[in-house]
């Protein structure tokens, strides 16, 4: 597809969405790749260059047979940070990609100017009988929709109306997500300890109505990162960048420009 570029990172072929100019932002997507038509991209485009790869197995990025863990993804993005033509970039991760961004930043901040985590997965906060993150695989899809959005009616997917290609990409994404995040479900028990290593200014952004992973979880996440602040976006669920693109982009631009 015309809107995507290809990038080769040590033999891993990535589909990459690149938009705008200005401060470089490497964006790691969540449950699905970032939609090229997403309004927040245009809102950011005047002030930032967004570089958004599809993780191997998602969208149009192939997944090598032996590439099947978050460990692989973290090393891929450490490599990608080295390969980008910028000394430092802002690293921004959504949901599942927020987990990846936190892992990358905890491992090495040399190439990271700032970190933005948006409704991020990745750590265990609650007790052993309280799941932090909604099991999107074992929960009825209608309930997943209800818990994902401030305004579920507006964002409920109508698969009957989707193009074939969009459905195939969506199914690829679910398969890849299940592969990477199934067990333990969407977190790394060790990550919590190492978040203290993140040595860059961090913005933890959260949809106030997120019931996939709650704002309380987001606050706990922010409390574990030394230079982090936590901000809520009103009238948004798990995907504030889609429900409140203007507000979302404003926060990002404000933070990157600080």
């Amino acid at each position: 597809m015309a809107e995507y570029e290809r990038l080769d990172v040590r033999g891993i072929d990535l589909e990459v969405l690149r938009r705008g100019s200005g401060a470089p932002i490497l964006a790691l997507h969540g449950l699905q790749p970032i939609d090229p038509a997403a309004a927040f991209l245009d809102r950011l485009a005047g002030r930032a260059e967004v570089i958004a790869p599809s993780h191997p197995g998602f969208g149009g990025s192939p997944r090598p047979g032996d590439f099947d863990t978050v460990y692989d993804l973290v090393h891929l993005y450490l490599d990608l940070l080295e390969a980008l033509p910028y000394e430092r970039v802002t690293l921004m991760g959504f949901s599942f990609g927020g987990w990846l961004a936190a892992e990358v930043a905890a491992a090495c901040c040399h190439r990271i100017e700032r970190l933005i985590l948006v409704d991020a997965f990745g750590i265990k906060v609650g007790d052993r009988e309280t799941p932090d993150i909604l099991d999107i695989f074992n929960t009825h899809p209608d309930e997943v929709v209800r818990r994902s959005w401030h305004d579920p009616e507006r964002f409920k997917p109508d698969f009957n109306a989707w193009e074939d290609d969009a459905l195939v990409r969506y199914a690829r994404g679910r398969e890849a997500l299940s592969l990477y995040g199934f067990q333990p479900y969407m977190y790394n028990p060790q990550l919590r300890r190492w978040l203290a290593r993140i040595a860059v200014p961090t913005l933890v952004l959260w949809g106030a109505a997120d019931r996939v992973v709650t704002p309380e979880y987001g606050q706990a996440y922010a409390d574990l990162i030394p230079a982090a602040r936590f901000e809520l976006i009103a009238d948004a669920g798990h995907h504030p960048e889609k429900e409140q693109p203007e507000n979302f982009a404003g926060r990002v631009i404000g933070f990157v420009g600080e």
Partner: protein, 408 residues
Amino acid sequence: MESWWQCEIPYPFVPPEVLAAADSVRGSLPNKWCDPTISADLFEEVLDEFLLCDDEGLNVLAIEHHAGINSLMGSNPMFVGILARQTRKARILSLGTLVSLRTDPVRIAEEYATADVMSRGRLEIGFVKSGGTEMASNQTNPVGNLERYWEAIDLIRKALSSHEGPFSWEGKYYTHRHVNIWPRPWQQPHPRLWSATGDPPTAMEVGRRGMVHVLVLRGPDGTKRAYQAHRRARAEAGLPKVTTDNFAYAAMVYVGETEEEGREVGSKLLWFLNTSLKSAPQYAKFLPGTAPPEFAPQIYRTAPRPAALAPSDMVNAEKGVAPASQNAAKLMSISTEEAMQQGILFCGNPDSVYRQIMEFYDKVGGFGHLAMIGRSGFMTHEESVKGIKLFAREVAPRLRAVKPIVAE
């Protein structure tokens, strides 16, 4: 032809309004609806029926399913152990431990070896790929299930057949640095292995491995196609031809004294299809990993797009990706007549049942094992006992006379 009787021990006694309101009768239905006193009676009745099969000269078969009204047999090796001790003559087929749901295949090998020894060599070991609700209730990643299935089987086979001290296994899905099971199995090198699968790619692997290949409620076309894939894979690999002894078919079977009685009681078996298959979309069509993403347009849409081709189950089945959810949807609304026509249900008087089985045999190119779902739903113990006796005395001897042949 050998006959293998089974009852999955369903639990049909949940109020219908509860079943109607539940989005799934497997996986997520609360077990408050499962009364332990009723369960105990069911276990007792069905174990007695298994023992009756032993007395009547039939083999027995025990399955495994989890967390639903369709079956209380969550622990296959435990059940097989009871049968190993309590039967005297019957061969016992485990079909099977849902092997990719268990974290340590070595423990499965140990359990099977124990049952094989207790039964003095009457165990047969079957493997089943498991379904979506079971992935959920056993916390198993549905993605990679098939690869895990084969690796687990490889490890179990090696554990059963290695006798020179500990060996090490560092595979993709399983690691075990010290495999050395006691007791070792009675049968050498290991009990015969079976695999239940309908899709052609897996059927080919079953063929190359020379396992007994079971088709469950697939009807003549799907069954024939799978058997052919099995044979073709062997031919392509330069392996010797197999006889019909390598093929098995699982259907619902009930024999009455009269045609009417056979059909009336036999139709009770359809409860399994009509009532116990109801499964929520997250365990079925939306379960990742069950069909290649390329088939999402057919699977995700509830109505075809105007310009799109109608979904074709035939095409899906040819390519080996007709997901279990599509098969289930077709089976849930089936009538007695349709089920009989499609070779899913064989019922009637002894002559009629024998004829139905042999007609199906001819349609699919022959098979050496009939796996009978003999009791399900609201069929009573008395009805089940009567059906077992009639089948064992009037039908099984005639089937036994059908000897293995090399069929094309």
